[in-house]
Symmetry: C2
Subunit: 268 residues, 2 copies
């Protein structure tokens, strides 16, 4: 049997205007409630991102870590483009963190590697190498291959690595869905032991009815070989589609969890 899907909740992100306001108000209670509501919906990690607070990102990210860790032991994915900010957040973090994200950009890789090792962190490896955003599956696979090999050589257990092929909006190019599905299939075929994830909401950015696009794409990504995704767990239909997908991919033996969820009216 395959392992169950690993769900990373995306809602604690300062780019979401309601969350941004709560962070500015340092509203501990509401942030904690949103964290707990995601946990209640079944997430395995909570992403935390304070990226829009350009000069105060470190302060806000540390505040998020401490505020949320006061109420839940679900691990956090420390989400920042800045290795320095991640380092500071790690100093106040308790338990095993996830770092979101390392890339194949040499300088960033060298700065984050000792943190990943030192904290025995899980780490998202984003398919970026400093040569511009990848367009094709081939470009993504080249970067993923280098990242996986480098992390392996540098002593990071590959079961701690979550490769993110970098999902871009289908509104920009009709090819971006297929390119990422092909990337996922390619990485899965290597059987290296890494997890494969994606920031699901990126696919539907700029389109009407993003929920339908996210739901269909998640089922496709899981079929192609992804076993984790960064999602909005408040999309109840998406969460139900995930439970259905687990049955179909034989990750929910005898559909026990699905049937239980149906009986308890936890499916939309």
């Amino acid at each position: 049997m395959l392992l169950r899907m690993i769900i990373i909740g995306e809602l604690i992100n300062s780019s979401i205007s309601d969350i941004n306001r709560l962070m500015q108000e340092k509203d501990e209670h509401c942030i904690q409630q949103i964290a707990l509501a995601q946990v209640e919906r079944g997430v395995n990690y909570l992403d935390v991102n304070a990226g829009t607070f350009i000069h105060q990102e470190e302060e806000y990210l540390k505040w998020l870590v401490q505020t949320i860790q006061a109420v839940t032991q679900v691990p956090l994915a420390l989400d920042s483009p800045s290795p320095a900010v991640i380092e500071k957040a790690l100093e106040v973090y308790e338990g095993t963190p996830m770092i979101n994200s390392i890339t194949a950009e040499e300088d960033k890789y060298q700065k984050l590697l000792p943190l990943v090792k030192g904290y025995r962190a899980k780490v998202i490896g984003l398919c970026l190498n400093g040569a511009g955003m990848p367009e094709t599956a081939k470009e993504r696979l080249t970067i993923a291959y280098k990242l996986i090999n480098d992390l392996d050589k540098d002593g990071i257990p590959l079961e701690d690595v979550f490769i993110d092929p970098l999902l871009k909006p289908i509104s920009v190019s009709g090819q971006y869905g297929l390119q990422v599905l092909d990337t996922i299939g390619g990485i899965a075929g290597w059987n290296s032991g890494v997890h494969i994830t994606c920031g699901l909401g990126n696919i539907s950015f700029g389109m009407p009815r993003p929920n339908l696009l996210n739901q269909a794409f998640l089922a496709m990504a899981l079929c192609a070989g992804a076993d984790t995704a960064i999602v909005n767990p408040f999309d109840d239909y998406l969460m139900s589609i995930i439970k259905a997908a687990e049955v179909l991919l034989s990750r929910d033996p005898y559909g026990r969890e699905f049937i239980k969820a149906a009986r308890e009216k936890k499916l939309v």
Copy 2:
């Protein structure tokens, strides 16, 4: 660009109790309305099946053909396990029919082949060979390979062939979803030019919330390489997921149809 998905509507089937009753009453008007409602929802073929009327199947199937062809030119998929019944239905059929289905069972194949040729019919090739129901992807692929080769050698244009890997209920074995997805991927990899379809509802038979399982599986099947399915077009959410999948698989350039459907409030 890939071609758009081909949708086969499954509702005119005597195994559905409401339809069975309408057929017994020879209620032309209601049968016609159900056919037209499926067409309105975007089906490309209408499956017609009178299989439960054991000794009157021929009479009822011919009645369905004539009743429905009186109001729509959308082609019908003549669905019967009996080559003799299909032959009789073809005699009253107008236009280019679809035959559902030929198999690799020698006797059946030899009886149906001249009909497929003579009527230049589209034909569903079901992965069955008389040696019991296939379990694994390998068994299905072996049958599909033989069917495709035989039909090709016998002069049937492969673009007229719709291979159905034979979807069985996930409630019977948790492996049936994966086996069929692997079969679809394998057939798609041959690039033979055949279409790949499946009777979607079979996957969820015996499970609660079949709609969620059908929706997730359809997205997966399309991702794996299917380009058609036999579905219930009255499942509005499924039809919306199909429209989303077309965008994601680059079959709806610039998402034009999806955006138009959203604007016209034709998405759930």
